[in-house]
């Protein structure tokens, strides 16, 4: 997050996190979801696919409620 770079590495990072987001393991999905919400809070609307994935994950119970409890970043509505 603190690395200053051009847009290419950001898109690459978001795509890699999106690939982790579609993993079947709940732990990896949770970690990638937390990082994606941090990214969404700072870089608005980089990737439409990630936004749809984040909305889909948000509909489930486990990940989004944990993140709201943590208060790191609000889940995008």
């Amino acid at each position: 997050m603190s690395i200053e770079d051009n847009g290419g590495l950001r898109v690459l990072a978001i795509n890699i996190l999106g690939r982790f987001l579609s993993n079947c393991d709940n732990n990896i999905r949770f970690i990638s979801f937390s990082f994606i919400t941090l990214m969404v809070a700072t870089w608005i609307g980089q990737n439409q696919k990630i936004r749809l994935m984040v909305v889909e994950i948000n509909l489930r119970g486990d990940g989004a409620e944990r993140l709201r409890e943590r208060g790191r970043a609000k889940a995008p509505e």
Binding site: N26, N27, I28, R29, F30, I31, D62, G63, R66, R70
Partner: protein, 143 residues
């Protein structure tokens, strides 16, 4: 790493091994243990292994009938702590034998030695070495 506590708990909620890496008085540690155990044992297998409690981030992992809970800082890497729990269980499994609760009651001193004395050494060695060499180092020290 900001590791603060480590617990080894029964499925019924009885604490078998507790190691605190920061100073807490007994009432605080007992209340904290009770709340953490109540939070972690209520979760099922479909949920992720990361729980938030006050300013602790709890990472737990279940092996047969034993839960290993590690309390870390909130900004710690949860997946690294999950691998650390597995490393601990692998080393415990290799030296005393099979991982079960009754065996850890018999060899309590070794379990305390693993969790207490070598916990910090593992955390420092883990940054530089691979996981299997750390296990072998520990086996050389204890046997």
């Amino acid at each position: 790493m900001g590791m603060r506590l480590m617990l080894m708990v029964n499925k019924q909620g009885q604490t078998r091994l507790a190691q605190y890496y920061e100073h807490l008085i007994i009432q605080e540690s007992q209340a904290l243990e009770g709340k953490i155990l109540h939070k972690c044992l209520a979760r099922n297998d479909n949920q992720c292994s990361f729980v938030e409690h006050r300013n602790y981030g709890i990472v737990y992992r279940r092996y047969a009938s034993v839960f290993f809970l590690v309390g870390v800082d909130v900004d710690e890497s949860e997946l690294a702590i999950l691998e650390f729990i597995h490393l601990l269980v692998e080393t415990m499994d290799r030296h005393p034998g099979n991982v079960c609760v009754a065996r850890y009651d018999v060899s309590f001193r070794k379990s305390t030695f693993y969790a207490g004395g070598n916990g910090h050494e593992w955390l420092h060695c883990g940054d530089k070495q691979s996981k299997y060499s750390v296990s072998n180092q520990l086996l050389d020290k204890t046997s």
